[in-house]
């Protein structure tokens, strides 16, 4: 590893990979460091992504696609099911990735573009000069060293510490941390082309439980519940075990993962002198779905672009880097995050009876487009008596 780069990227997930690739393609010397011994493992993800969203970054490849989906189903507490079929939803539904391979592919492409990549290498502190980030102290396979850089892009995921060390408050409120557990299960009866989302206080308080297919009889079966609902006897794992015992008693668990998903608002500011923050570290996960792969790639690429321009111009001050913060907030992604935050705030107040009513009203839904805003408009149209109550939702998509 050299001791000086134009740009240092901390974290080898989708955000870091896209940031490194973009900056290397712009002709800069880039170093990406990842603290784990292997990119992509252990997986901390249910691996779902919209087809069009994925294609914005990379052409789908069967080496890292586990399932090509045809529908999504939302299952209310009473079992009523809203089925959103590809044929009826108008546009495509999604893929289930194999992130062990997918994440590697992204980092591979960053390396191909010219980035140096180091695994088993973790940032332990920023190097600060006059209040500005100027690189990082790292430990690479046990050896301590300083890596200086004009710009550091912190893409260190949900457990992010780098931005915090540099002075940004990245703490996630307990109630807005989805505490998740997932089993990769095999030998279970599933619909291999449907992503299933189970809702309800008894099933997943202030969250949802998912069954995402990975093959004919194999699926990611996982759950996320709000951190404030988690305590002895009602932890995420307890809910998941109850569901599995009821629905998949004969299934075999071949992988067991845990993870955290922040569903708070994004960081109030995602830049500082010499520093940009991208992906989960910037808290840009969709507050309704918990999906963050696209948003990580989107902010990573944008950080790589704006960061490269600033490095070329010779100024990586907070003011110069603000263009990144403003651009992603003004983007379709940024606006969706803001809207979905308000929508989530409404949905977590609903008890099971209301969820059943709303789901019942959406039976036979025929959506032109598979979008949250379309779903909300349908809810409002079909529940005129609840108009007052649904006003908050209406305002959120205004």
């Amino acid at each position: 590893m050299k001791s000086n780069y134009d740009i240092l990227v901390v974290g080898g997930g989708p955000a870091g990979a896209l940031a490194a690739k973009t900056a290397a393609e712009a002709g800069h010397s880039v170093c990406l460091i990842e603290k784990r011994p292997a990119i992509g493992t252990p997986v901390r993800c249910a691996e779902g992504i919209g087809k069009e969203l994925l294609k914005e970054f990379i052409e789908p490849d069967e080496r890292w696609i586990s399932a090509d989906l045809q529908r999504a189903r939302i299952i209310a507490p009473n079992g009523a099911t809203i089925s959103l079929d590809q044929s009826r939803a108008g546009n495509e539904v999604g893929y289930i990735l194999d992130r062990k391979v997918f994440d590697r592919e992204l980092v591979w492409r960053a390396a191909e573009a010219g980035s140096d990549v180091f695994v088993k290498t973790r940032a332990v502190a920023p190097i600060m000069e006059n209040g500005a980030v100027k690189g990082a102290k790292v430990i690479s396979a046990g050896k301590a060293m300083d890596v200086s850089a004009d710009l550091v892009i912190a893409a260190d995921g949900v457990e992010s510490k780098f931005a915090r060390w540099a002075g940004l408050n990245t703490t996630v409120p307990l109630g807005e941390m989805m505490s998740c557990v997932q089993y990769l299960m095999t030998d279970i009866p599933i619909d291999p082309v449907s992503t299933d989302f189970y809702l309800g206080r008894e099933i997943a308080p202030e969250g949802y439980l998912w069954v995402f297919p990975k093959g004919d009889r194999t699926a990611n079966v996982g759950i996320g519940i709000s951190g404030r609902q988690s305590r002895d006897g009602t932890r995420a794992r307890d809910y998941l075990d109850r569901f599995v015992a009821e629905h998949f008693p004969g299934g075999k668990i071949i992988e067991h993962i845990v993870g955290g998903v922040s569903i708070c608002r994004p960081l109030p500011c995602t830049v500082a002198d010499g520093l940009m923050v991208a992906g989960d570290a910037a808290r840009v996960v969709d507050p309704i779905t918990g999906g963050g792969i696209f948003n990580a790639m989107f902010t990573g690429r944008m950080a790589g672009q704006v960061g490269s321009e600033c490095v070329s111009a010779g100024t990586c001050t907070k003011d110069a880097l603000m263009k990144y913060d403003e651009a992603w907030r003004a983007s379709y992604m940024g606006k969706t995050l803001e809207r979905n935050y308000k929508v989530k705030d409404y949905f977590i107040t609903l008890d099971d009876a209301k969820l059943n009513d709303l789901a019942g009203s959406l039976a036979n839904i025929n959506m032109e487009e598979f979008k949250v805003s379309t779903l909300i408009m349908e809810l409002i149209k079909r529940n005129p008596k609840m108009l007052l109550e649904l006003r908050a939702l209406k305002n959120s998509i205004a």
Partner: protein, 58 residues
Amino acid sequence: MLTINRDICGYCGCCVAVCPEGALELIDAYLNLEGDCISCGICARACPLGALEVVHEE
């Protein structure tokens, strides 16, 4: 005092992200108490597996 049961921990990072003191850190695949802990118990609430416990001394 915060106790970490590393046999239970799955290294997810929930506790790291919610700790108001920034006291926890995931190093390689190992959770460590690195900073000043005020024994508030927030991390223990966030843990999906129950690997953390705040034990108050008598």
